[in-house]
């Protein structure tokens, strides 16, 4: 008896991930006439969709919300025929089918899909600190999304962990709601761009704890009520009362499913050449999950376009 999982339709190009890189690849690939599909395991728009204000994406002199921008990219991709499937790719099958000229098989939660070329545009997810209280109070005081959860902290005192671009940018957004922000940064200086730091310095209700490590998130069992920080130089331990903690300490690429097939660097970022090729013929990568150190929407767009054009060439030579 046959009990194999159903193998779905065949595609020319499958894009894993529907952030700016994936959506751009979708626009280019479907417009060029290739049967194209995006498989998204979370939300279309990726990290960019939950960014409140994007001021450095060209063409929007007054800035734009990440939500509007990525909604429009999705519309544009769909207009040219890109299909969107909500599912999670568990692995790309490592068989002799990966030879040039054959279809590749993607194993997802709900079955198998065949495609000639794959573009991996899976992006990153927020890095966890793995400290006591972080998991316990997730969703109950610990948040990674200021635009989603800022509303719940009206007139409250909160902490923002990490003073890179994300931490300061999201902090600026949170200041619309909260009474005060205690910023905590492990390094001796904030690493955010000057334009953001200049903006945050205009506020009086912010306080910076530099050169300090977050030791724990404390709570009463129901929700978070405070943090414990540790000064790296003086070793002084301080407890601060807060109602919420927003964590922006960096990102990890969502590339675990490529283990054993696609080459990645020691942090999990996909190794690519200048044409977005990975080490496996017909598997391309674009956007934040690659070794490109600049993680911007503008660069993700460029890499998505390049991946799609090269995937198109690959597909045309595959029969």
């Amino acid at each position: 008896m046959m009990n194999e999982q159903k193998t779905h339709e065949k595609y020319d190009v499958i894009i894993i991930g529907g952030g700016p890189a994936g959506l751009t690849a979708g626009i280019y690939s479907s417009r060029a006439g290739f049967k194209t599909c995006i498989i998204e395991s979370g939300v279309i728009g990726g990290e960019a969709a939950s960014t409140d204000l994007i001021e450095n994406y060209p063409g929007f002199p007054d800035g734009t919300s990440g939500l509007k921008l990525t909604e429009n990219m999705e519309k544009q991709a769909k207009k040219f025929g890109t299909e969107i499937i909500y599912d999670k790719v568990i692995k790309i099958e490592k068989t002799n089918q990966l030879q040039k000229g054959k279809y590749k098989i993607l194993v997802t939660n709900s079955g198998k899909i065949q495609t000639k070329a794959v573009i991996v545009a899976v992006g990153t997810k927020p890095k966890l600190l793995n400290i006591p209280g972080e998991k316990k109070y997730k969703g109950r005081g610990v948040s990674y999304c200021a635009t989603c959860d800022g509303f719940f902290y009206k007139d409250k005192k909160i902490a923002v962990i990490g003073c890179g671009n994300s931490g300061i940018q999201e902090g600026l957004f949170l200041l619309r709601f909260v009474k005060k922000i205690e910023f905590v940064e492990f390094l001796p200086k904030p690493t955010a761009e000057k334009v953001l730091l200049d903006k945050i310095k205009e506020y009086e209700n912010v306080n910076f704890h530099l050169n300090s490590a977050l030791q724990s998130i404390n709570g009463d069992g129901k929700s978070a009520t405070g943090i414990t920080i540790n000064d790296n130089t003086t070793l002084k331990v301080e407890e601060i009362e807060i109602s919420g903690v927003f964590i922006y300490v960096g990102l990890n690429p969502n590339t675990e499913f490529l283990e054993g097939l696609v080459q990645r660097d020691k942090n999990g970022y996909i190794i690519i050449d200048k044409n977005q090729n990975t080490n496996v013929s017909g598997i391309f990568a674009a956007g934040d999950a690659t070794i490109d150190t600049v993680k911007q929407i503008a660069t993700a767009i460029g890499s998505g376009a390049r991946a799609a054009i090269n995937a198109g060439h690959y597909t045309e030579n595959t029969n």
Partner: protein
């Protein structure tokens, strides 16, 4: 269609004898917006005799959100016999939600 949960109909919906899944959401929350169609699909697929799928807007229904200590959205709460039994924080796939519902029916 998912039922709109308000302070007025809260007791009636939660104590209807059916299993109730409530999606706490808001219009400014992108992950919530993207989950919208999935929640509607869920509402159409479940056995309506046994399960109610409801949506609660945290902006207009702050009292409900506060009562259940919602501090992050999207959050799904599953009620059985009027009591919250389980919660799922963050974006989830439809199948994961169906599995949860099956566990409590």
């Amino acid at each position: 269609m998912a039922k709109k949960l308000t302070l007025e109909n809260f007791d009636e919906v939660i104590n209807s004898g059916k299993l109730v899944l409530v999606d706490f959401w808001a219009e400014w929350c992108m992950p919530c917006i993207v989950m919208g169609p999935l929640i509607e699909e869920l509402a159409n697929e479940v056995d309506k005799e046994k399960v109610t799928i409801a949506k609660c807007d945290v902006q207009t229904e702050q009292a409900i959100a506060q009562k259940f200590s919602i501090m992050s959205i999207p959050t799904m709460l599953i009620f059985k016999d009027g009591k919250p039994m389980d919660q799922i924080i963050g974006v989830s796939q439809k199948q994961a939600l169906l599995d949860k519902i099956d566990r409590y029916i």
